[in-house]
């Protein structure tokens, strides 16, 4: 009998009294003393620590390493930059899996491939036989030189930060890697894992340091967990396991492999990019992919190429489904269970982002099944468990990972959380209620709250009143007609007044920004961006309208994690206008690099190389979470020096109201186009604008003409005429009062930031600048604590928003609050008042005190809006307007 292999942690497993088991030839812990259920629950609640050193680790180096990997793996290895990793599959020619694996690129000159322990020998033999056709490839088996640990769960980051400096950890994004040091030894860290936990880390180190890392992690609170829990966790996460969802189908005696595309992860693991070229299994996989695409569209003509797929199935009856159990649907045999058992879970109290972990446990019988491809979530099944038929149902998932810090189990009857429709009421009650509640809300917000949401403002009474007057609700579509010497032609009658208002507004915006062109029809900032992106696509294709219109080939922007506008992300307005990068097979974006010591600021020096490499056609400045001026001039100089054909856009949504000598003058600094919301630091109403300073005789002016066309008819038809009048009033106010307003906003932001810091809060940003150069202040309150703190502040009538910083994975784990001083500055608050406010905020945040009365008293002093025209000479006209409503 051959001896079992031992990992570097073998002694630790024994010391902890682990139940040991032979796994792929390795002596591994199945579970420790408290058992599988305990370890599963500990991982979901705290953090589980798994010895995964039994897995195979191959290193591939050499001039042709990439070509070799492109040949034997299904993923596009050329898309991996150093610092990135990817799930992949080692395919056979028939489109089945020899193994699934993870490819890591820690270093630029080598790749690390992690494979399943049980298949290490088979993978090695396969690779060596394929290597015969390659030269200049070095393949080594580092399994016995490198130890590997997996740390997974909501406390994983906090625990790991006790050993490794925060800045040496990978970015909070799945698949990101970093190289860290621990006790002088190199530790490779990946944000990867096999549990579905969003806070996931896998660590590689030399054996010698391994035990020390294990001990420190356990000391810091990590709970050792064995292979038993590893399996229940991955099952709950819906992740495939070789021998169950991948590889030879145990239910099929002919040894046929389960098609790779039966697994939902295949579409991420397989690449058919022409840049990848041919690879083992490509033809078979392409056929499967074709069938898969049809099946997703509910077209089953190609089902023979992908007859069954892996789907999560929940048991709704009494029983426990396990691998091999047959599955029936409407009395037809449709497949079998590939993995199944009973998994434990924690219950959550409450709904949505406020939901919290309780101490109550429960359990549920779940499984993954290989069943007919036409089945769909909601379909009722019967699982044959030892001659009894037990009811089950196809579900879309058992667990969700998109709300860090923890993975969330989703029971089959909780896929859509209960939504109670508001109770019906008789009309009089409804009307009266709507009116009274609007009054109550307005009163609360206007006279009792301190409003600090940076993207919000209150328009002046005049601006508000004008917004509801005729021609609000009417139309004034117009465009310039070349046949009339580019005169604006309005399609409807009754538009003389609004035509005049719009022209006056254009002039005021041009005056405000010091530019020649202003487009005022977009009804929001995001629509203004949509119009510009659409105009850029229109402009770049102006010579050829017959073929498929090519999208913008390369864009440089701020990543949303770093505070970039939603609008400028693939999930926002940019989505349908940016091309795919054929190399990465993702939207062709490159993010602004940021300074290590200040992730809120662009690293200008590092931009040069990125601009040269990616040659952006569009650079988008401007952020939603913004503490600094944008380096427009410096980047514009790089673009000019490299002679790039690039449009520099500044989305000034947040900072339009600050444009000027005290902040930034975008066109003077080199911006080609400015877009903005008109209702954040600018005085409102809620609309969008686009501006440019182009020479009408220049060929580039055609871009402006495209902007106008893509504004109307491109993105608006009716352009909300009421708020257009209101905006003209706001623009008059802005141009008249901006000097004092801008100076006060910027001074108040610094005062508030400094005061909050002195009250003991963690204020983000550069202390030497008093933390901010804008209207915003960012207060860090602790990982994932943002939502709860923001709620407490609201209960005290202080309105802020919870904000994810560059350190968090997403908004559900928001660790900060975002504040803005513009609105309260408009109501007349000054430095002394903001200092008093800072203390009250600290009292709530740090001492959980109730300061509602004090906040109401503070607001009472500032209930009259400033920086607007309010003399008694306007009273009669205002009265007339009121009567006209």
């Amino acid at each position: 009998m051959s001896k079992l292999q031992q990992t570097p942690f073998y002694e630790r497993h024994h010391r902890l009294g682990a139940e040991m088991v032979d796994f792929g030839g390795w002596d591994m812990p199945l579970n420790y003393k408290k058992g599988i259920v305990y370890e599963h629950l500990a991982t979901r609640r705290k953090a589980g620590l798994f010895d995964v050193s039994h897995m195979g680790r191959f290193v591939i180096r050499g001039k042709n390493a990439l070509s070799f990997l492109q040949h034997v793996l299904t993923n596009n290895a050329a898309a991996l930059e150093p610092g990135e990793s990817q799930y992949t599959i080692i395919a056979n020619q028939q489109g089945g899996a020899i193994d699934d694996a993870y490819l890591y690129r820690f270093f630029s000159d080598q790749y690390l491939l992690v494979v399943n322990a049980a298949n290490r020998q088979a993978d090695w033999d396969h690779f060596n036989s394929e290597l015969a056709a390659f030269d200049a490839v070095e393949l080594t088996d580092e399994t016995f030189n490198l130890a590997m640990l997996s740390l997974q769960g909501p406390n994983a980051k906090e625990i790991l930060e006790k050993l490794i400096a925060k800045k040496e950890l990978p970015e909070p994004k799945r698949n990101d890697l970093s190289i860290a040091a621990f006790d002088g030894v190199q530790v490779l860290i990946g944000r990867t894992g096999y549990t579905g936990e969003p806070l996931c880390f896998e660590l590689f180190s030399q054996k010698e340091a391994a035990l020390s890392i294990w001990d420190k992690l356990v000391e810091a609170g990590a709970v050792p967990a064995g292979l038993g829990a590893r399996d229940t966790l991955r099952l709950e996460a819906g992740l495939p396991l070789y021998g169950h969802e991948l590889g030879p189908d145990p239910a099929d005696e002919t040894g046929v492999h389960i098609p790779i595309f039966a697994s939902g992860l295949a579409k991420f693991a397989a690449s058919f990019s022409p840049l990848k070229g041919n690879f083992i299994g490509r033809a078979a996989l392409l056929k499967q992919f074709g069938a898969y695409q049809k099946i997703v569209a509910r077209n089953f003509e190609a089902m023979a190429d992908l007859p069954r797929m892996i789907m999560p199935v929940a048991i709704s009856g009494k029983g426990l489904a396990r691998q091999g159990h047959r599955i029936w649907h409407q009395n037809r045999l449709v497949g079998h269970v590939t993995s199944g058992t009973m998994v434990p879970c924690w219950q959550y109290d409450g709904v949505g982002i406020d939901s919290v972990l309780s101490d109550t446990k429960s359990r549920r019988a779940i499984c993954l099944a290989l069943i007919d491809s036409h089945l769909y979530p909601g379909d009722a099944l019967e699982i044959e468990i030892r001659k009894k038929r037990v009811s089950g149902v196809v579900v879309p998932y058992h667990l969700r990972s998109e709300a860090p810090p923890a993975a969330r189990p989703i029971a089959w009857d909780q896929i859509r959380a209960n939504r109670t429709m508001p109770a019906s009421a008789p009309p009089e009650t409804k009307i009266e209620r709507l009116l009274s509640e609007t009054i109550a809300n307005s009163h609360w917000r206007r006279f009792e709250c301190i409003n600090l949401i940076p993207s919000e403002q209150t328009p002046s009474p005049m601006a508000k009143l004008l917004s509801v007057m005729d021609p609000a609700g009417r139309y004034a579509e117009h465009k310039p007609v070349a046949a009339f010497g580019e005169a604006e032609v309005f399609y409807y009658q009754g538009t003389e007044f609004i035509a005049q208002v719009e022209a006056l507004l254009q002039a005021e915006i041009s005056k405000f920004l010091g530019c020649r062109q202003a487009e005022v029809r977009p009804t929001s900032g995001q629509l203004a961006n949509t119009a510009v992106f659409s105009a850029l696509v229109d402009f770049r294709n102006r010579a050829d309208r017959k073929n498929e219109q090519g999208r913008i080939a390369s864009v440089m922007n701020h990543h949303i994690i770093k505070g970039g506008h939603l609008s400028a992300q693939p999930m926002g307005a940019l989505r349908d206008f940016v091309a795919r990068n054929p190399q990465t097979e993702k939207p062709a974006l490159v993010n602004f690099p940021v300074l290590v010591e200040n992730p809120y600021q662009i690293d200008v020096t590092a931009c040069g190389e990125l601009i040269e490499r990616f040659k952006p056609e569009l650079i988008i400045f401007g952020k939603s979470m913004t503490l600094h001026k944008e380096p427009v001039a410096a980047i514009a100089a790089m673009v000019a020096q490299q002679k790039l054909d690039c449009v520099i856009m500044y989305d000034m949504a947040h900072v339009l109201g600050l444009a000027g000598p005290y902040f930034q003058e975008p066109f003077a600094e080199g911006a080609d186009i400015v877009t903005a919301s008109t209702h954040k630091t600018f005085f409102g109403t809620q609309r969008g604008i686009i501006a440019a300073d182009m020479d009408e005789e220049s060929p580039d002016f055609e871009l402006w003409q495209a902007v106008m066309r893509r504004s109307f008819p491109g993105s608006v038809s009716n352009h909300h005429l009421g708020t257009l009048i209101g905006l003209l009033m706001a623009a008059y106010e802005m141009n008249h009062f901006k000097k004092a307003y801008q100076k006060n906003v910027l001074a108040n932001a610094k005062t508030l930031a400094k005061a909050l810091k002195e009250c003991g809060l963690d204020v983000a940003g550069d202390a030497s600048l008093n933390f901010t150069e804008t209207h915003q202040v960012i207060v860090e309150v602790g990982y994932a604590k943002g939502p709860a703190v923001a709620k407490r502040l609201e209960q005290n009538n202080i309105i802020v928003n919870y904000q994810a910083t560059p350190h968090e994975e997403g908004f559900t784990a928001a660790g900060a609050l975002r504040l803005g001083v513009a609105e309260m500055t408009r109501f007349g608050m000054g430095p002394t008042d903001f200092k008093a406010l800072a203390q009250l905020m600290a009292d709530v945040i740090l001492k959980d005190m109730d300061v509602k009365a004090e906040i109401k008293a503070l607001r009472k002093k500032f209930d009259e809006i400033q920086y607007c025209f309010s003399g008694s000479e306007f009273d009669e006209l205002i009265n007339k307007l009121h009567h006209l409503i």
Binding site: I36, V37, G319, T341, M342
Partner: protein, 133 residues
Amino acid sequence: MKDISEMNFPENLRYSKDHEWTVMEGDTVKIGISDYAQAKLGDIVFVELPEVGDRFSKSDEFGTVESVKAVSSLYMPLGGEIVAVNDALEDTPEAINESCYDKGWIITVKPNDAAELNGLMTSADYLKQLKED
């Protein structure tokens, strides 16, 4: 798994070779699984019980006890009619791990032939058998 020396096998019970325990209660027999069995299984997550009124012979399979990783059949240590089942095990199957001789009891049987109990092992004999295996 804990060492056999740390396990508990009450002397007033009789044990089957399939690791069940039995105890006479009036004219019925209460049945469960031993400390060894629950330790070997690990966390018990599901129990399949027979219905009250079902009749079985000795050595018949009357139910199952399932852990995360395995299904374990339960065999009648003697023949008879099921007169009670521990319904609480539906919600808290872990009661078998926590209290296999008390709260973790599984069924109560009206024996066909009480003499069948004599074939079962004493605590000492059961322990001896475990050590030999």
